[in-house]
Amino acid sequence: MAQVYFEDVTEGQEIPQVVLPCDSQRLVLWAAGSGDYYQIHYDKDFAQGTGLPDRITHGALKNALLGRMLHEWVGEKGRVRRFACQYRGMDHINKDVTGKGVVTGKKTENGANIVELEVWTEDPDGQKTTPGTAIVELPSKN
């Protein structure tokens, strides 16, 4: 993907979304990758025993997906400085999780070109289950 530059970014601009299908294999991969082996994420009987309809996607995976979306957007010369989210709603197994973001501001601070964003993940019904914010640094054309 082409490098995005600070000068190209405008407030209100949407950044490219990322879609992650969260099937059981994905949740097991994440359990291993993150070290979170809580069974509500991959053991259906266990999940139902806690009153859930089925297994649910890890909150931290949704957070990491927002990190990936930002990393892919800022490109080789950019850096993800900060990303935050709140776990407001559950995402259920075998559903896509979609990461999205909108630029909310930009400024130059101590020589760094800073862009602020609102970021979130959505479930397939468009519910924002994981709202958050982010700060990235972008290269300048100058």
């Binding site: 909150g59 990491a64 997906l65 990190g67 892919e72 900060r82 935050a84």
Partner: protein, 159 residues
């Protein structure tokens, strides 16, 4: 509204600001790769040392949100929860309220990260499901040179 007895005990107030035991996290190639794969990254800097170096990094890069794995030995798992910082509550259920990762430098394979957590605040709220304790935590991650590479501000809710 009548004032009910506070959920926040003196013991909890005393725990605010106290640091827990440092936990050592090792960042290695396999950990970075596995984390990156599980999130669906295709950028080779998270998988191949040559690709990472060609882009100016020291080694394979740890993806955003990955700060290495602690050593977990069955039967000897380190007590890492806030209870280890010195308070107990009768509220049984826990919700992760959110996470906020602030980075100050790159994290790469070969790094040894020391994580130190503290409770930064404890608040009380009346929620839909009854009384809740909102506990805010701050974990500082230092690398082997002593540099703070990341601060994770988190929070969880006991109810």
């Amino acid at each position: 509204m009548t004032q009910t007895s506070s959920l926040i005990t003196d013991e909890m107030r005393a725990a605010i600001g106290r640091e827990g035991d440092p936990v050592v996290h090792e960042v290695d190639n396999t950990g970075c790769r596995q984390f990156a794969r599980s999130v669906g990254y295709s950028d080779p800097i998270f998988y191949e040392e040559a690709a990472a170096k060609a882009r100016g990094y020291r080694a394979v890069v740890a993806p955003p949100g990955f700060l290495g794995h602690p050593r977990v030995i069955p039967g000897k798992a380190a007590q890492r929860g806030p209870e280890s910082l010195g308070f107990q509550t009768n509220l049984k259920r826990v919700l992760n309220g959110g996470t906020d990762y602030e980075y100050f430098d790159d994290v790469c394979a070969g790094d040894t990260i020391t994580a130190t957590m503290k409770i930064s605040d404890i608040a009380e709220r009346e929620g839909r499901l009854g009384p809740m304790l909102v506990v805010s935590t701050e974990t500082t991650y230092k690398n082997q040179t002593g540099k703070v590479v990341c601060i994770l501000r988190g929070g969880f809710i006991r109810y």
